[in-house]
Symmetry: D2
Subunit: 349 residues, 4 copies
């Protein structure tokens, strides 16, 4: 059987959990053919030997990164790399393309922050490709569809920002944020990637809960930047991230003191207006990380007392907070139904 | 869009985890339309309010059990009920059908054991519908395809038997079992169903490991019976089941002392012969419950020293050990590709 | 061997986790003899049959509640009861005592809130013993030693308040709180008690994270009340509680915007001044629930940016957040070293 | 206060979990003074900085290994080292001692197996100190008290052997074992030590269950050797070890086909005879790893059908299966009550 009009996709850096999850989605996407997956450490190793859940489900092997070849055979390239590496790869990809239309989706943080000074402060890295920042579109699907559709370079959102922004965008869009916006998020261990470390050592992590990167998490300025696109009033985000003893999931609790009082029922209506037609965003009474685990859904609740509001959201960090949203963006970039390949529910329990 | 030739499916008793998992699979099955889901406790409640992962993904509500109506509108009926209830329902279904062809898949234990005395000993229940036992086909797909295809009544295997039988069938088929066949299995908590109890209370279960129903588990005679269909030599199964602090998954370790010595390499070839063309059974070095979680796969390994053999298998108790295998059987019964709606990999990590 | 000068202790309602933990501590306390443990549901059942970890370690059996007898044979009485029940028991105890000196420690919430209107709003119960509120001393040991020593009735703090107050008291004592004080806490499942429920059903809880009782948790007014004893400026506490997939532990993240800017180093000095001589409070870089699990320690960190402060604390909800602190208070009430019976470290990992 | 007659103890290799647990016990042991703890990687680092649960509870720092000095200042030396290292250390210690009485407790595997060929096969190491094997006493306390009391060198049992032997010794002592003795054990992740690896990486381990080292685990010959001391009949142990998603605990399920039939009640009496006076061994209906976690107890059950027996046991691998039993042995070696410092119950839940 010859496949017509399949989107040919390569993944650069496909041995991590983000790569694993991209493969779980793309190998079964009806309009995608995965043509190349690269790795520095596992060249020639079959994919199913690294990602055991994919064993016997693909004949792909990891290959070296040959940018020229990748550009030649691919319609879309996903980058699932440690921070900093896309600063080199993305210029190389577009240079090699020589005008051939190619779509690039970067799942790292290199092209999310528009202000290179902020980038350099939080990432402790010099930004060596600032000329691409202008064209890089922030890939939070629900709030950037038009930009994503037209773009050749999508900077896919961080996991914490996805949960926080979906909780906050309706308020920001109504210019309701002011003063301190307090975000507390808890993440599962898969967010730390595949490299074993003390913080993800099972005897240490299994019953543990702790805060980390207090006042200094890289995702804080990303959230601030994106909210400022909508909310004219001055406000200041404080993000505190926590390690929770689960594997998948980010749960977010936002506290905000609104710029004006709105009755709770109207606030719920406001969220409803933004989200009732969004397939992947569900307004619920009580978001739960276990309920969305394995799926591309983001469950959101909103409660208020006077001008104080608490919004909760739950996502799977590897799906809506990572590879799922990247596929959703890819669908948009290629004119497909954005839900294609993503409609399955969570595997709860 | 009008859907042609869809299989109309009802689920009796759809509020438990087995029902939840059937819905997760059947709502997205390209040839199935779920027409009715019943519940005693939650009549008129929307499915997504009980199974939160399905929220907004179906408009179905739970209804009362009206056997007449179910038979009239359904091509297939799944029963996901506590043990004993199918003893009444299944006669009622076939009586109401009055010869209309209807396929019934029972996920409980009522029609698995051919010997009613054994049934009554282990289930502490009188078997009130022995006339259906003759026609009930045991639904372990890979070892009963022909029977399942022709059957109107499939008794879907128990979760422990699925893991144990897939580990042992190649030996039984070669008449290699003799003497004690020692099966140790560990299950996740989802096997206990949706009703909270002390044994599944999180503070008790979260770090706990224990054996239960020693020498008396209902699944032991089921395994014995099915192996005896193949293995002529006398042998005796001892199944010890354990509660492990995970949610999904059954991991099985079988020890057998073979009736004759076979070199390990030939033993592996033997398993390979049985399984290399089975999509859902994968021979691996080290089966892991986390790798198959969420999927219909059964991973198997075999190791030997002289005549001693250890076989390990890993399944998801709710999928291959429950609802997934039931859907696989349904596919066969309706002449579909048995993989339909089941091809997705596990969601590891 | 006759034991001299042992404190004779009874526990009313000793079958729950709070009772279990009291017994784990008091049975091995060198100055305590546990003389009576009561239960409504398990009269005549040996303690070790309910609390399996204590099997063979005590000959005590649960008995019925005979207040007269308890008062007669006890120097101290612990109440580990559902909310509302102490409203009747405590008046009955003091009435039966007829002036005999007896010390009562209530681990429930009935005598923590001084304002009965606030109590009735949050507990949905009429307060039927307001005359005891005047004498009831709030048992947060480190900030109330003198009161506890003199008291006959100690209202032991709630678990969330213990974590939050130990994080906030140094700021409150310096009148630094103003405006919104945002407290986010995550608790293990043992905080829900011994009764199985959907929220503590292992398949539901094991990978789950969620917020609950948003804006309405009973511990919020308790925290507000205690901080107001120290902090004269107006401020308003918002507590959001979360269920995390662990068993023991409460982790708290406080955000406060101080009434004046204090350099971070001076802020740390301030905490050091309050806590360096406290055995059970340890200033650390990164509190972790797993590190204090099983122990009476509270680990605290403080970080600031300008006037914004984030304080983290970690406790074991059943020890420092419950039975351990109650024993610490009992030690004080009887003139013992407050550390007696509590010096063991956590069982990490 | 001057402490009289304290046992001066050093620990060589004290940064791992075995060392951590020794410190948790010995720092609070009323007759012990820990005088030295060594480490290769963390010289001069305070103990509480590595073992965070001990923060502020000891002023000890890790030092280099100076055998001369250790021997000079110590009455007892614990070795908590990777396999193979004690082969050099123990000869060095006794040489440095020059006849000074010193007691050595080795928690590694170097001196457990009497047959160096078996050692070399399973440990893949040449045994370079066979002359010490004769004097090395196997430290399973309950079955070797006299030997341990007289010994200067105790080889503390492995974690799996402790659980298996306490399950099997009463049968072996009655010469009831024959043929295959099938042992299946599941361990928590703390048994893998402090070094992060793929197998203990939280996203991989948290929901996982798997068998490992099938037919080749080092603890199998250790169990065989010790049972053979009692059981004259030929029999053959097969140990299959499993990784379970918990932190502490080893749960063991033994299947044996006895050399003669004994009624179940007499079998239970037999176990009762061996264990009713053992403080740390408790005969129960259903051993549970969570119930003994944190404690030195071993809970055991025995059930039979005809000549088939299933024995279950549960221990904490770091306590009874490691450091706790070592302290119990040390108590014996110094003529103390063997329970000293070990009487606390588990911290269940």
């Amino acid at each position: 059987v010859v496949k017509f009009k399949m989107i040919k996709v390569s993944i650069i850096g496909a041995t991590g959990y983000t790569g694993s999850e991209l493969l779980r989605l793309l190998l079964f996407h009806e309009k995608v053919e995965v043509v190349k997956v690269t790795s520095r450490s596992d060249v020639e190793v079959p994919v199913g030997q690294i990602h055991r859940n994919l064993y016997k489900l693909t004949n792909l092997k990891f290959t070296e990164e040959d940018i020229e070849e990748i550009v030649e055979i691919s319609d879309a390239v996903f980058l699932a790399l440690p921070h900093g590496q896309a600063l080199e790869k993305i210029p190389a990809i577009f240079q090699a393309a020589k005008g051939k239309p190619i779509r690039v989706l970067d799942l790292g943080g290199d092209f999310r922050l528009k202000d290179t000074q902020v980038f350099e402060k939080y990432y402790k890295l010099k930004h060596t490709a600032p000329e691409f920042l202008k064209d890089a579109v922030y890939g939070l699907t629900e709030f950037n569809r038009e930009g994503i559709q037209k773009s050749n370079l999508v900077a896919c959102p961080g996991c914490f920002p996805t949960g926080a922004l979906l909780a906050l965008f309706p308020l920001a869009a109504e210019n309701l944020l002011t003063g301190d916006v307090i975000i507390n998020s808890a993440t599962g261990s898969s967010g730390s990637g595949t490299d074993p470390s003390e913080g993800t050592h099972h005897p240490e992590r299994a019953f543990d809960y702790k805060a980390y990167n207090v006042f200094s998490h890289r995702h804080q300025p990303e959230i601030q930047q994106e909210l400022e696109r909508f909310n004219g009033n001055p406000f200041e985000v404080t993000l505190t991230t926590h390690s929770a003893p689960m594997v998948r999931g980010i749960f977010t609790t936002v506290f905000a003191h609104l710029s004006k009082e709105i009755p709770e029922s109207r606030l719920k209506d406001l969220y409803c207006g933004y989200y009732e037609n969004e397939h992947f965003i569900r307004l619920v009474d009580q978001p739960r990380s276990a309920v969305v685990a394995g799926s591309n859904f983001c469950d959101v609740s909103v409660v208020s007392r006077g001008r104080k509001v608490i919004i909760n959201s739950a996502i799977d960090n590897l799906v809506k907070g990572g590879s799922g949203q990247a596929v959703q963006d890819m669908n948009l970039m290629f004119g497909l139904d954005e839900k294609m390949g993503l409609t399955f529910p969570g595997t709860h329990p």
